[in-house]
Symmetry: C2
Subunit: 300 residues, 2 copies
Protein backbone atom coordinates (compact mmCIF):
# COMPACT_ATOMS: atom_id res chain seq x y z
CA UNK A 1 0.00 0.00 0.00
CA UNK A 2 1.42 3.42 -0.91
CA UNK A 3 1.64 6.39 1.44
CA UNK A 4 -1.34 8.14 -0.09
CA UNK A 5 -3.68 5.17 0.34
CA UNK A 6 -2.42 4.60 3.86
CA UNK A 7 -3.02 8.21 4.83
CA UNK A 8 -6.51 8.17 3.29
CA UNK A 9 -7.33 4.97 5.16
CA UNK A 10 -6.18 6.45 8.46
CA UNK A 11 -8.15 9.63 7.79
CA UNK A 12 -11.31 7.67 7.04
CA UNK A 13 -10.97 5.87 10.38
CA UNK A 14 -10.60 9.23 12.14
CA UNK A 15 -13.84 10.51 10.60
CA UNK A 16 -15.77 10.63 13.88
CA UNK A 17 -13.00 12.34 15.86
CA UNK A 18 -14.62 15.80 15.86
CA UNK A 19 -17.84 14.40 17.32
CA UNK A 20 -15.95 12.60 20.07
CA UNK A 21 -13.83 15.65 20.99
CA UNK A 22 -16.27 18.48 20.18
CA UNK A 23 -14.83 20.98 22.67
CA UNK A 24 -11.28 21.10 21.33
CA UNK A 25 -11.43 19.75 17.78
CA UNK A 26 -13.15 21.60 14.93
CA UNK A 27 -11.52 19.88 11.92
CA UNK A 28 -9.59 16.61 12.30
CA UNK A 29 -7.31 14.69 9.94
CA UNK A 30 -7.84 15.13 6.19
CA UNK A 31 -7.34 18.83 5.44
CA UNK A 32 -4.03 20.73 5.10
CA UNK A 33 -4.17 21.42 8.85
CA UNK A 34 -6.29 20.44 11.81
CA UNK A 35 -8.42 23.21 13.36
CA UNK A 36 -8.49 23.40 17.16
CA UNK A 37 -10.54 25.49 19.58
CA UNK A 38 -9.12 26.89 22.84
CA UNK A 39 -11.30 27.08 25.99
CA UNK A 40 -12.13 30.74 25.24
CA UNK A 41 -13.01 29.90 21.64
CA UNK A 42 -9.84 30.96 19.81
CA UNK A 43 -9.25 28.81 16.73
CA UNK A 44 -5.79 27.61 15.74
CA UNK A 45 -4.35 25.56 12.87
CA UNK A 46 -1.72 22.82 13.28
CA UNK A 47 0.01 20.38 10.98
CA UNK A 48 3.18 18.31 10.75
CA UNK A 49 5.42 17.50 7.76
CA UNK A 50 8.60 15.52 7.36
CA UNK A 51 11.58 16.29 5.17
CA UNK A 52 13.87 13.32 4.59
CA UNK A 53 17.12 13.87 2.75
CA UNK A 54 17.39 11.48 -0.18
CA UNK A 55 13.62 11.46 -0.38
CA UNK A 56 12.46 15.08 -0.49
CA UNK A 57 15.79 16.59 -1.57
CA UNK A 58 19.14 15.28 -2.75
CA UNK A 59 21.96 14.66 -0.25
CA UNK A 60 24.02 17.48 -1.80
CA UNK A 61 21.35 20.11 -1.06
CA UNK A 62 22.86 23.03 0.92
CA UNK A 63 21.90 22.88 4.61
CA UNK A 64 20.19 26.29 4.46
CA UNK A 65 17.90 25.10 1.66
CA UNK A 66 17.08 21.88 3.51
CA UNK A 67 16.03 23.95 6.51
CA UNK A 68 14.14 26.39 4.29
CA UNK A 69 12.17 23.67 2.54
CA UNK A 70 11.34 21.86 5.81
CA UNK A 71 9.88 25.03 7.36
CA UNK A 72 8.28 26.33 4.15
CA UNK A 73 6.27 23.12 3.62
CA UNK A 74 4.59 23.56 7.00
CA UNK A 75 4.05 27.27 6.45
CA UNK A 76 2.42 26.52 3.09
CA UNK A 77 -0.12 24.26 4.82
CA UNK A 78 -1.05 27.14 7.14
CA UNK A 79 -1.40 29.46 4.11
CA UNK A 80 -3.71 26.91 2.48
CA UNK A 81 -6.21 27.41 5.33
CA UNK A 82 -5.94 31.20 5.03
CA UNK A 83 -3.85 31.36 8.20
CA UNK A 84 -0.88 33.25 9.57
CA UNK A 85 1.94 31.15 11.10
CA UNK A 86 2.41 31.59 14.87
CA UNK A 87 4.88 28.97 16.19
CA UNK A 88 6.75 25.80 15.21
CA UNK A 89 8.40 22.74 16.74
CA UNK A 90 11.37 20.98 15.15
CA UNK A 91 12.40 17.34 15.66
CA UNK A 92 15.60 16.22 13.95
CA UNK A 93 17.17 12.85 13.37
CA UNK A 94 20.81 13.63 12.60
CA UNK A 95 23.25 11.24 10.93
CA UNK A 96 25.97 9.99 13.28
CA UNK A 97 28.72 12.62 13.64
CA UNK A 98 26.75 15.10 11.51
CA UNK A 99 29.02 18.15 11.11
CA UNK A 100 26.36 20.75 10.20
CA UNK A 101 24.03 20.60 13.21
CA UNK A 102 24.66 24.18 14.30
CA UNK A 103 24.14 25.56 10.83
CA UNK A 104 21.00 23.45 10.36
CA UNK A 105 19.36 24.69 13.54
CA UNK A 106 20.36 28.29 12.92
CA UNK A 107 18.81 28.05 9.46
CA UNK A 108 15.64 26.40 10.76
CA UNK A 109 15.30 29.15 13.39
CA UNK A 110 15.97 31.86 10.82
CA UNK A 111 13.40 30.66 8.31
CA UNK A 112 10.82 29.93 10.98
CA UNK A 113 11.13 33.48 12.31
CA UNK A 114 11.15 34.84 8.76
CA UNK A 115 7.64 33.44 8.32
CA UNK A 116 6.51 34.44 11.80
CA UNK A 117 6.54 31.04 13.52
CA UNK A 118 9.52 30.88 15.95
CA UNK A 119 10.66 27.40 16.91
CA UNK A 120 9.48 27.11 20.50
CA UNK A 121 10.78 23.59 21.20
CA UNK A 122 12.28 20.51 19.66
CA UNK A 123 13.98 17.17 19.92
CA UNK A 124 17.26 15.76 18.59
CA UNK A 125 18.30 12.15 18.07
CA UNK A 126 21.37 10.87 16.26
CA UNK A 127 21.83 7.59 14.49
CA UNK A 128 22.61 5.89 11.20
CA UNK A 129 20.76 7.00 8.08
CA UNK A 130 20.04 10.28 6.34
CA UNK A 131 19.02 13.56 7.96
CA UNK A 132 15.28 13.74 8.69
CA UNK A 133 13.33 16.73 9.98
CA UNK A 134 9.82 16.65 11.36
CA UNK A 135 8.34 20.14 11.57
CA UNK A 136 5.12 21.07 13.34
CA UNK A 137 3.73 24.47 12.36
CA UNK A 138 0.78 26.23 13.98
CA UNK A 139 -1.13 29.25 12.78
CA UNK A 140 -4.04 31.57 13.43
CA UNK A 141 -6.89 31.54 10.91
CA UNK A 142 -8.00 34.76 9.21
CA UNK A 143 -9.95 36.65 11.90
CA UNK A 144 -12.93 37.45 9.67
CA UNK A 145 -13.03 34.59 7.14
CA UNK A 146 -12.02 31.80 9.54
CA UNK A 147 -10.30 28.59 8.36
CA UNK A 148 -10.71 27.92 4.63
CA UNK A 149 -11.28 24.18 4.12
CA UNK A 150 -10.96 21.85 1.14
CA UNK A 151 -14.58 20.90 1.43
CA UNK A 152 -16.22 24.23 0.67
CA UNK A 153 -16.21 24.25 -3.17
CA UNK A 154 -19.69 24.82 -4.65
CA UNK A 155 -21.20 24.30 -8.08
CA UNK A 156 -20.71 27.48 -10.10
CA UNK A 157 -17.40 28.44 -8.44
CA UNK A 158 -14.41 29.50 -10.48
CA UNK A 159 -11.17 27.60 -9.88
CA UNK A 160 -7.87 29.51 -9.84
CA UNK A 161 -4.21 29.18 -8.89
CA UNK A 162 -1.85 31.72 -7.33
CA UNK A 163 1.07 31.07 -9.69
CA UNK A 164 2.67 28.87 -12.34
CA UNK A 165 2.50 25.09 -12.12
CA UNK A 166 5.14 22.50 -12.96
CA UNK A 167 8.90 22.02 -13.31
CA UNK A 168 9.44 22.56 -9.59
CA UNK A 169 12.24 20.00 -9.52
CA UNK A 170 14.14 21.06 -12.67
CA UNK A 171 13.99 24.76 -11.77
CA UNK A 172 14.83 24.35 -8.06
CA UNK A 173 11.45 25.89 -7.18
CA UNK A 174 10.79 22.98 -4.77
CA UNK A 175 13.62 24.36 -2.60
CA UNK A 176 12.94 28.06 -3.11
CA UNK A 177 9.18 28.39 -3.25
CA UNK A 178 7.54 31.21 -1.35
CA UNK A 179 4.64 30.02 0.84
CA UNK A 180 1.57 32.03 -0.18
CA UNK A 181 0.75 33.53 3.23
CA UNK A 182 0.28 37.07 1.96
CA UNK A 183 -1.77 35.95 -1.04
CA UNK A 184 -3.97 33.80 1.22
CA UNK A 185 -4.62 36.72 3.56
CA UNK A 186 -5.46 39.01 0.63
CA UNK A 187 -7.87 36.39 -0.73
CA UNK A 188 -9.58 36.16 2.67
CA UNK A 189 -9.67 39.97 2.95
CA UNK A 190 -11.07 40.56 -0.52
CA UNK A 191 -13.34 37.56 -1.07
CA UNK A 192 -14.45 36.93 2.53
CA UNK A 193 -17.25 34.35 2.57
CA UNK A 194 -17.10 34.13 -1.26
CA UNK A 195 -13.76 32.32 -0.89
CA UNK A 196 -15.09 28.76 -0.71
CA UNK A 197 -12.16 26.31 -0.75
CA UNK A 198 -8.39 26.31 -0.78
CA UNK A 199 -5.57 23.74 -0.89
CA UNK A 200 -1.76 23.73 -1.03
CA UNK A 201 -0.68 22.19 -4.37
CA UNK A 202 1.97 19.81 -3.03
CA UNK A 203 1.25 16.47 -4.69
CA UNK A 204 0.31 17.70 -8.18
CA UNK A 205 -2.39 20.04 -9.48
CA UNK A 206 -4.59 17.18 -10.71
CA UNK A 207 -4.51 15.21 -7.48
CA UNK A 208 -4.92 18.21 -5.22
CA UNK A 209 -7.83 19.52 -7.33
CA UNK A 210 -9.30 16.03 -7.01
CA UNK A 211 -9.01 16.26 -3.23
CA UNK A 212 -10.93 19.56 -3.15
CA UNK A 213 -13.60 18.16 -5.48
CA UNK A 214 -13.93 14.91 -3.55
CA UNK A 215 -14.11 16.64 -0.15
CA UNK A 216 -16.73 19.05 -1.55
CA UNK A 217 -18.83 16.36 -3.27
CA UNK A 218 -18.38 18.26 -6.54
CA UNK A 219 -16.71 18.01 -9.93
CA UNK A 220 -13.84 20.35 -10.82
CA UNK A 221 -13.08 20.81 -14.51
CA UNK A 222 -9.66 22.23 -15.37
CA UNK A 223 -8.79 23.50 -18.86
CA UNK A 224 -5.23 22.26 -19.29
CA UNK A 225 -4.21 25.09 -21.62
CA UNK A 226 -5.26 27.75 -19.08
CA UNK A 227 -2.84 26.52 -16.42
CA UNK A 228 0.14 28.90 -16.30
CA UNK A 229 3.55 27.31 -16.95
CA UNK A 230 6.75 28.29 -15.20
CA UNK A 231 9.15 30.41 -17.30
CA UNK A 232 7.58 29.45 -20.60
CA UNK A 233 8.15 25.77 -19.93
CA UNK A 234 7.19 23.50 -22.80
CA UNK A 235 6.86 20.41 -20.59
CA UNK A 236 3.81 18.33 -21.55
CA UNK A 237 0.92 19.28 -19.23
CA UNK A 238 0.73 15.75 -17.83
CA UNK A 239 4.28 16.12 -16.49
CA UNK A 240 3.64 19.60 -15.21
CA UNK A 241 0.47 18.58 -13.40
CA UNK A 242 1.77 15.39 -11.86
CA UNK A 243 5.01 16.12 -10.09
CA UNK A 244 3.77 18.56 -7.49
CA UNK A 245 5.80 20.60 -4.98
CA UNK A 246 4.41 23.72 -6.67
CA UNK A 247 3.16 25.03 -3.32
CA UNK A 248 0.83 27.45 -5.04
CA UNK A 249 -2.72 27.63 -3.73
CA UNK A 250 -5.67 26.21 -5.63
CA UNK A 251 -8.72 28.33 -4.84
CA UNK A 252 -12.44 28.12 -5.59
CA UNK A 253 -14.68 31.17 -5.23
CA UNK A 254 -18.06 32.59 -6.23
CA UNK A 255 -17.90 33.66 -9.89
CA UNK A 256 -19.10 37.20 -9.07
CA UNK A 257 -16.51 37.60 -6.31
CA UNK A 258 -13.68 39.90 -7.36
CA UNK A 259 -10.38 38.07 -6.77
CA UNK A 260 -7.03 39.85 -6.43
CA UNK A 261 -5.14 40.29 -9.69
CA UNK A 262 -2.55 37.62 -8.98
CA UNK A 263 -4.97 34.74 -9.56
CA UNK A 264 -5.21 32.81 -12.83
CA UNK A 265 -8.59 31.18 -13.45
CA UNK A 266 -8.07 27.63 -14.74
CA UNK A 267 -11.50 26.01 -14.46
CA UNK A 268 -14.84 25.73 -12.73
CA UNK A 269 -16.82 23.68 -10.22
CA UNK A 270 -20.05 21.89 -11.16
CA UNK A 271 -22.39 19.42 -9.48
CA UNK A 272 -21.80 15.77 -10.40
CA UNK A 273 -24.10 14.29 -13.02
CA UNK A 274 -26.37 11.45 -11.79
CA UNK A 275 -24.09 8.41 -11.21
CA UNK A 276 -20.97 10.56 -11.66
CA UNK A 277 -18.45 10.41 -8.82
CA UNK A 278 -17.05 13.65 -7.38
CA UNK A 279 -13.52 14.44 -8.54
CA UNK A 280 -11.37 16.58 -10.81
CA UNK A 281 -11.11 16.25 -14.59
CA UNK A 282 -8.42 17.85 -16.69
CA UNK A 283 -9.73 18.74 -20.14
CA UNK A 284 -7.17 19.06 -22.94
CA UNK A 285 -7.46 21.20 -26.04
CA UNK A 286 -8.24 18.06 -28.08
CA UNK A 287 -11.13 17.27 -25.76
CA UNK A 288 -9.61 14.30 -23.92
CA UNK A 289 -10.46 14.16 -20.24
CA UNK A 290 -8.00 12.87 -17.61
CA UNK A 291 -9.07 12.11 -14.03
CA UNK A 292 -7.17 14.31 -11.54
CA UNK A 293 -6.83 11.40 -9.13
CA UNK A 294 -4.43 9.74 -11.57
CA UNK A 295 -2.26 12.83 -11.96
CA UNK A 296 -0.45 12.92 -8.64
CA UNK A 297 2.82 12.03 -7.14
CA UNK A 298 3.21 9.97 -4.01
CA UNK A 299 5.73 12.05 -2.10
CA UNK A 300 5.06 10.68 1.36
Amino acid sequence: MNERSLLEQIQSRSASLESRFPDALVVGPGDDCAVLRSPSGDLSLVGVDQLIVGRHCTPDTPVDLIARKAIARGVSDIAAMGGTPTWALAAARLPTRYPHADELFDSCAKWAEHWGCPIVGGDIATGPGELALSITVAGAPHPARGPVLRSGARAGDLVAVTGPIGDSLSTGWHLNFEPRITEARLLCDSLGPDLHAMIDISDGLGLDAHRVAYASGAVIEIDSERVPARDGSASPWRDRFSHGEDHELLVTFRPDGIPPGSLTVIGRVRAPEPDEAPGARVISLDGTIAPGSELGWDHG
Copy 2:
Protein backbone atom coordinates in the same frame (compact mmCIF):
# COMPACT_ATOMS: atom_id res chain seq x y z
CA MET B 1 29.17 17.02 20.37
CA ASN B 2 26.48 14.86 21.98
CA GLU B 3 22.74 15.43 21.73
CA ARG B 4 22.48 16.92 25.19
CA SER B 5 25.15 19.58 24.59
CA LEU B 6 23.66 20.36 21.19
CA LEU B 7 20.19 20.83 22.63
CA GLU B 8 21.53 23.01 25.45
CA GLN B 9 23.43 25.13 22.95
CA ILE B 10 20.34 25.61 20.80
CA GLN B 11 18.28 26.48 23.86
CA SER B 12 20.78 29.07 25.01
CA ARG B 13 20.60 30.74 21.60
CA SER B 14 16.79 30.81 21.86
CA ALA B 15 16.94 32.59 25.22
CA SER B 16 15.50 35.87 23.96
CA LEU B 17 12.65 34.27 22.02
CA GLU B 18 9.95 35.13 24.59
CA SER B 19 10.88 38.83 24.49
CA ARG B 20 10.76 38.88 20.69
CA PHE B 21 7.38 37.09 20.51
CA PRO B 22 5.74 38.31 23.73
CA ASP B 23 2.16 38.00 22.53
CA ALA B 24 2.20 34.28 21.72
CA LEU B 25 5.15 32.82 23.62
CA VAL B 26 5.26 32.57 27.42
CA VAL B 27 8.00 29.91 27.83
CA GLY B 28 10.29 28.94 24.95
CA PRO B 29 12.79 26.11 24.49
CA GLY B 30 14.36 24.59 27.61
CA ASP B 31 11.52 23.24 29.74
CA ASP B 32 9.57 19.98 29.27
CA CYS B 33 7.12 21.89 27.06
CA ALA B 34 6.78 25.34 25.56
CA VAL B 35 3.97 27.52 26.94
CA LEU B 36 1.90 29.46 24.41
CA ARG B 37 -0.79 32.12 24.80
CA SER B 38 -3.83 32.36 22.52
CA PRO B 39 -5.24 35.77 21.51
CA SER B 40 -7.85 35.56 24.30
CA GLY B 41 -5.18 34.61 26.84
CA ASP B 42 -5.66 30.83 27.06
CA LEU B 43 -2.37 29.09 27.83
CA SER B 44 -1.37 25.83 26.18
CA LEU B 45 1.60 23.47 26.43
CA VAL B 46 3.32 21.84 23.43
CA GLY B 47 6.29 19.57 22.93
CA VAL B 48 7.69 17.05 20.45
CA ASP B 49 9.55 13.77 21.01
CA GLN B 50 10.94 11.16 18.70
CA LEU B 51 10.93 7.40 19.12
CA ILE B 52 13.41 5.62 16.87
CA VAL B 53 13.38 1.83 16.80
CA GLY B 54 16.84 0.48 17.52
CA ARG B 55 17.56 3.58 19.56
CA HIS B 56 14.70 3.97 22.04
CA CYS B 57 13.45 0.38 21.88
CA THR B 58 14.65 -2.88 20.36
CA PRO B 59 13.49 -3.92 16.87
CA ASP B 60 11.56 -6.88 18.34
CA THR B 61 9.35 -4.61 20.49
CA PRO B 62 5.66 -5.34 19.82
CA VAL B 63 4.07 -2.63 17.65
CA ASP B 64 1.50 -1.76 20.32
CA LEU B 65 4.26 -1.04 22.85
CA ILE B 66 6.20 1.07 20.32
CA ALA B 67 3.08 3.18 19.81
CA ARG B 68 2.41 3.29 23.55
CA LYS B 69 5.91 4.50 24.38
CA ALA B 70 5.92 7.11 21.61
CA ILE B 71 2.66 8.66 22.86
CA ALA B 72 3.42 8.21 26.57
CA ARG B 73 6.72 10.13 26.35
CA GLY B 74 4.90 13.19 25.03
CA VAL B 75 2.10 12.84 27.57
CA SER B 76 4.68 12.63 30.36
CA ASP B 77 6.11 16.00 29.29
CA ILE B 78 2.64 17.53 29.59
CA ALA B 79 2.23 15.96 33.05
CA ALA B 80 5.58 17.48 34.08
CA MET B 81 4.10 20.96 33.58
CA GLY B 82 0.97 20.02 35.58
CA GLY B 83 -1.07 19.82 32.38
CA THR B 84 -3.81 17.71 30.87
CA PRO B 85 -3.22 16.40 27.31
CA THR B 86 -5.55 17.83 24.66
CA TRP B 87 -4.37 16.79 21.17
CA ALA B 88 -1.48 15.17 19.31
CA LEU B 89 0.12 15.01 15.87
CA ALA B 90 1.97 11.93 14.60
CA ALA B 91 4.65 11.84 11.89
CA ALA B 92 5.97 8.43 10.90
CA ARG B 93 8.89 7.29 8.82
CA LEU B 94 8.05 3.70 7.91
CA PRO B 95 10.56 1.14 6.65
CA THR B 96 10.01 0.20 3.01
CA ARG B 97 7.19 -2.36 2.71
CA TYR B 98 6.47 -2.12 6.43
CA PRO B 99 3.75 -4.70 7.12
CA HIS B 100 2.38 -3.30 10.40
CA ALA B 101 1.36 0.24 9.40
CA ASP B 102 -2.34 -0.28 10.11
CA GLU B 103 -1.68 -1.79 13.51
CA LEU B 104 0.82 0.95 14.35
CA PHE B 105 -1.58 3.79 13.58
CA ASP B 106 -4.49 2.08 15.32
CA SER B 107 -2.30 1.69 18.40
CA CYS B 108 -1.08 5.29 18.27
CA ALA B 109 -4.68 6.49 17.97
CA LYS B 110 -5.81 4.21 20.80
CA TRP B 111 -3.13 5.32 23.27
CA ALA B 112 -3.46 8.97 22.32
CA GLU B 113 -7.20 8.86 23.01
CA HIS B 114 -6.58 6.84 26.18
CA TRP B 115 -4.63 9.81 27.56
CA GLY B 116 -7.06 12.39 26.18
CA CYS B 117 -5.04 13.74 23.25
CA PRO B 118 -6.57 12.45 19.98
CA ILE B 119 -4.27 12.47 16.96
CA VAL B 120 -5.65 15.33 14.88
CA GLY B 121 -3.21 15.08 11.98
CA GLY B 122 -0.03 13.51 10.74
CA ASP B 123 2.40 12.67 8.02
CA ILE B 124 3.77 9.43 6.58
CA ALA B 125 6.96 8.81 4.61
CA THR B 126 8.48 5.47 3.68
CA GLY B 127 12.09 4.66 3.03
CA PRO B 128 15.08 2.60 4.08
CA GLY B 129 15.99 2.45 7.76
CA GLU B 130 14.18 1.70 10.99
CA LEU B 131 10.73 2.89 12.03
CA ALA B 132 10.79 6.41 13.50
CA LEU B 133 7.89 8.28 15.08
CA SER B 134 7.80 11.98 15.85
CA ILE B 135 4.95 12.82 18.21
CA THR B 136 3.75 16.33 19.06
CA VAL B 137 1.56 16.50 22.16
CA ALA B 138 -0.31 19.57 23.40
CA GLY B 139 -1.99 20.13 26.72
CA ALA B 140 -3.84 22.59 28.91
CA PRO B 141 -2.12 23.76 32.11
CA HIS B 142 -3.83 23.36 35.48
CA PRO B 143 -6.52 26.09 35.52
CA ALA B 144 -5.62 27.38 38.99
CA ARG B 145 -1.90 26.63 39.37
CA GLY B 146 -0.88 27.39 35.78
CA PRO B 147 2.18 25.81 34.13
CA VAL B 148 4.69 24.35 36.60
CA LEU B 149 8.22 25.13 35.38
CA ARG B 150 11.65 23.70 36.13
CA SER B 151 12.86 27.06 37.27
CA GLY B 152 10.65 27.58 40.32
CA ALA B 153 12.58 25.65 43.01
CA ARG B 154 13.36 27.77 46.09
CA ALA B 155 15.74 27.38 48.98
CA GLY B 156 13.99 25.47 51.76
CA ASP B 157 11.83 23.36 49.41
CA LEU B 158 11.50 19.64 49.88
CA VAL B 159 12.33 17.47 46.85
CA ALA B 160 10.19 14.40 46.13
CA VAL B 161 9.44 11.81 43.44
CA THR B 162 6.13 10.23 42.43
CA GLY B 163 7.44 6.66 42.31
CA PRO B 164 10.39 4.26 42.22
CA ILE B 165 13.51 5.07 40.25
CA GLY B 166 15.74 2.80 38.21
CA ASP B 167 15.77 -0.49 36.32
CA SER B 168 13.36 0.85 33.70
CA LEU B 169 15.07 -1.13 30.96
CA SER B 170 15.47 -4.49 32.72
CA THR B 171 11.89 -4.45 34.05
CA GLY B 172 10.26 -3.24 30.83
CA TRP B 173 9.01 -0.15 32.68
CA HIS B 174 10.35 2.07 29.85
CA LEU B 175 7.66 0.54 27.60
CA ASN B 176 4.89 0.32 30.17
CA PHE B 177 5.24 3.42 32.33
CA GLU B 178 2.14 5.34 33.24
CA PRO B 179 2.50 9.08 32.58
CA ARG B 180 1.74 10.88 35.86
CA ILE B 181 -1.10 13.09 34.62
CA THR B 182 -3.41 12.31 37.55
CA GLU B 183 -0.63 12.72 40.12
CA ALA B 184 0.39 16.03 38.56
CA ARG B 185 -3.18 17.33 38.72
CA LEU B 186 -3.53 16.23 42.36
CA LEU B 187 -0.26 17.98 43.20
CA CYS B 188 -1.51 21.20 41.58
CA ASP B 189 -4.88 20.83 43.34
CA SER B 190 -3.43 20.20 46.78
CA LEU B 191 -0.26 22.30 46.79
CA GLY B 192 -1.36 25.15 44.52
CA PRO B 193 1.25 27.93 44.60
CA ASP B 194 3.35 25.89 47.10
CA LEU B 195 4.19 23.51 44.24
CA HIS B 196 7.31 25.26 42.99
CA ALA B 197 8.99 23.11 40.31
CA MET B 198 8.42 19.88 38.42
CA ILE B 199 10.24 17.81 35.77
CA ASP B 200 9.74 14.51 33.95
CA ILE B 201 12.56 12.14 34.95
CA SER B 202 13.51 10.91 31.48
CA ASP B 203 17.31 11.18 31.34
CA GLY B 204 18.16 10.04 34.86
CA LEU B 205 17.23 11.32 38.34
CA GLY B 206 20.61 13.00 38.86
CA LEU B 207 20.66 14.85 35.56
CA ASP B 208 17.01 15.89 35.70
CA ALA B 209 17.41 17.12 39.30
CA HIS B 210 20.44 19.04 38.07
CA ARG B 211 18.30 20.68 35.38
CA VAL B 212 15.75 21.85 37.96
CA ALA B 213 18.52 23.16 40.24
CA TYR B 214 20.34 24.88 37.40
CA ALA B 215 17.20 26.52 35.99
CA SER B 216 16.26 27.68 39.49
CA GLY B 217 19.72 28.98 40.41
CA ALA B 218 19.67 26.65 43.44
CA VAL B 219 21.34 23.55 44.84
CA ILE B 220 19.36 20.32 45.20
CA GLU B 221 20.72 17.74 47.64
CA ILE B 222 19.41 14.20 47.22
CA ASP B 223 19.94 11.51 49.86
CA SER B 224 20.68 8.44 47.76
CA GLU B 225 19.28 5.97 50.30
CA ARG B 226 15.91 7.75 50.39
CA VAL B 227 15.27 7.25 46.69
CA PRO B 228 12.73 4.41 46.29
CA ALA B 229 13.90 1.43 44.22
CA ARG B 230 11.69 -0.56 41.89
CA ASP B 231 10.58 -3.98 43.20
CA GLY B 232 13.31 -4.18 45.81
CA SER B 233 16.02 -3.76 43.20
CA ALA B 234 19.53 -4.06 44.57
CA SER B 235 21.11 -2.19 41.63
CA PRO B 236 23.79 0.23 42.81
CA TRP B 237 22.26 3.70 43.11
CA ARG B 238 24.58 5.09 40.45
CA ASP B 239 23.08 2.69 37.92
CA ARG B 240 19.56 3.37 39.10
CA PHE B 241 20.00 7.14 38.91
CA SER B 242 21.73 7.27 35.56
CA HIS B 243 19.75 5.30 33.04
CA GLY B 244 16.54 7.32 33.09
CA GLU B 245 13.25 6.56 31.32
CA ASP B 246 11.66 6.43 34.78
CA HIS B 247 9.04 8.97 33.73
CA GLU B 248 8.20 9.73 37.32
CA LEU B 249 7.93 13.39 38.29
CA LEU B 250 10.53 15.14 40.41
CA VAL B 251 8.79 17.81 42.46
CA THR B 252 9.92 20.62 44.76
CA PHE B 253 7.47 22.26 47.17
CA ARG B 254 7.28 24.41 50.29
CA PRO B 255 8.16 22.26 53.31
CA ASP B 256 4.93 23.18 55.12
CA GLY B 257 2.81 22.32 52.10
CA ILE B 258 0.95 19.05 52.55
CA PRO B 259 1.72 16.82 49.57
CA PRO B 260 -0.47 13.88 48.52
CA GLY B 261 0.51 10.54 50.10
CA SER B 262 2.04 9.12 46.92
CA LEU B 263 5.16 11.30 47.10
CA THR B 264 8.46 10.14 48.55
CA VAL B 265 10.68 12.93 49.87
CA ILE B 266 14.28 12.37 48.72
CA GLY B 267 16.03 15.66 49.43
CA ARG B 268 15.89 19.42 49.77
CA VAL B 269 16.69 22.67 47.99
CA ARG B 270 19.16 25.20 49.37
CA ALA B 271 20.78 28.39 48.11
CA PRO B 272 24.26 27.97 46.60
CA GLU B 273 27.18 28.82 48.87
CA PRO B 274 29.33 31.76 47.71
CA ASP B 275 31.28 30.57 44.64
CA GLU B 276 29.20 27.38 44.46
CA ALA B 277 27.52 26.71 41.11
CA PRO B 278 23.84 25.79 41.03
CA GLY B 279 23.21 22.08 40.47
CA ALA B 280 22.18 18.79 42.05
CA ARG B 281 24.33 16.70 44.40
CA VAL B 282 23.61 13.10 45.31
CA ILE B 283 24.81 12.34 48.85
CA SER B 284 25.54 8.70 49.69
CA LEU B 285 25.30 7.04 53.09
CA ASP B 286 29.10 7.15 53.35
CA GLY B 287 29.07 10.91 52.76
CA THR B 288 30.44 10.97 49.21
CA ILE B 289 28.83 13.58 46.97
CA ALA B 290 28.24 13.02 43.24
CA PRO B 291 27.27 15.87 40.88
CA GLY B 292 23.86 15.19 39.30
CA SER B 293 25.05 16.55 35.97
CA GLU B 294 27.34 13.52 35.61
CA LEU B 295 24.58 11.02 36.35
CA GLY B 296 22.56 11.15 33.16
CA TRP B 297 22.05 9.25 30.00
CA ASP B 298 22.16 10.80 26.57
CA HIS B 299 19.04 9.31 24.99
CA GLY B 300 18.59 11.85 22.26
